[in-house]
Symmetry: C2
Subunit: 190 residues, 2 copies
Amino acid sequence: MVKIENTKRTILNLAESLLQDKGFNGFSYAHISSDLGVKNAAIHYHYPTKEILVCAVIERYRDRFKLWINNSRVKDLAPEKKLDWFFSIYSDFRADNGKVCLVGSLEAEFNSIPGAVQEEVQAMHKELLAWLQGMLKEGRDAGVFNFSGEPANKAALILSSLQGALQMARALGSKKFRDVIEQHKLDLLA
Amino acid sequence: MVKIENTKRTILNLAESLLQDKGFNGFSYAHISSDLGVKNAAIHYHYPTKEILVCAVIERYRDRFKLWINNSRVKDLAPEKKLDWFFSIYSDFRADNGKVCLVGSLEAEFNSIPGAVQEEVQAMHKELLAWLQGMLKEGRDAGVFNFSGEPANKAALILSSLQGALQMARALGSKKFRDVIEQHKLDLLA
DNA sequence: GTCTATAGGGGGATAGAC
DNA sequence: GTCTATCCCCCTATAGAC
């Protein structure tokens, strides 16, 4: 019972990592099973299809994000600290072998992934945007952030940029990613 | 001689479209050949390998972009019109069956594409950034654009955002894409 | 230039033994 | 739960006829 939970969790870890590294159509059950040290069929026992496996990866990530933002260590931060925390998620991806975010990886291949995965991605993206929008509004109301227009639109701008910047850094290097982060802070705190 | 040039061009058109729709690992020679109404092997006659084919797609796009920006219809525009022109490239992608940009598509799958393609993507991305950076500097010097920091960093922010916004729109719809464009204008012209 | 035919590999997925 | 073995499909790429 404990063993199976560990195995399932390890499979999810590997699948998540491979998704962020090679993309949905770039990884296979063979990658996971060889990394895990078992055979192909063992993965199918835990996650019958690739569609089910990747949906489980996203669901876990959504749960994780919900826990984070509802935890007092994030919830009670000042807006500018919340911003730093959010940026650090993406900086950590970059530092971890140049991974991109799940949303970006899966949306780039959106038209060649299963329908159930598309729906999970959509839900995940909405949740990220909603939190970011609330944080930006909170910060502007508090006089910390400075921007024109709707918080929802500024949130979409920032999130799309982080997504793109992780991809950009693969071709142009980590400095470009850091430059984008700094420019966002400059724009927001000016 | 004319016929072969037309065929080669049509193959490049289809490959470019498929790349922007399904990604490198999501399209095959079979897609191209069935769309073109020929057999698999005919494509290999013109472009022996997928690596060579995709490199040719990117090289053509780079040439096209160079022609555009050196043409007086773009070169002589005022900075704010240049900005609109650049945004329209991405709006047109979005309007064309929700395509994403080549750079975003290929960088998302960067670690599962051939090395020669990676190098082409890198060169292309640098050229796009260089032009955008120059345009932003020109606009700020002319007193039309308003932003803090280095033009290079603002260029990276905007380009990464356009790249991400096309992907985002696949899950969340075209309105989100338009919202991002409007927010960029708001930020830049404030 | 395009065809048929096929090689050769990898992919997702399943059956049945242990 | 994991194994071996296997099925079947799609993929990239090539050989040789037309």
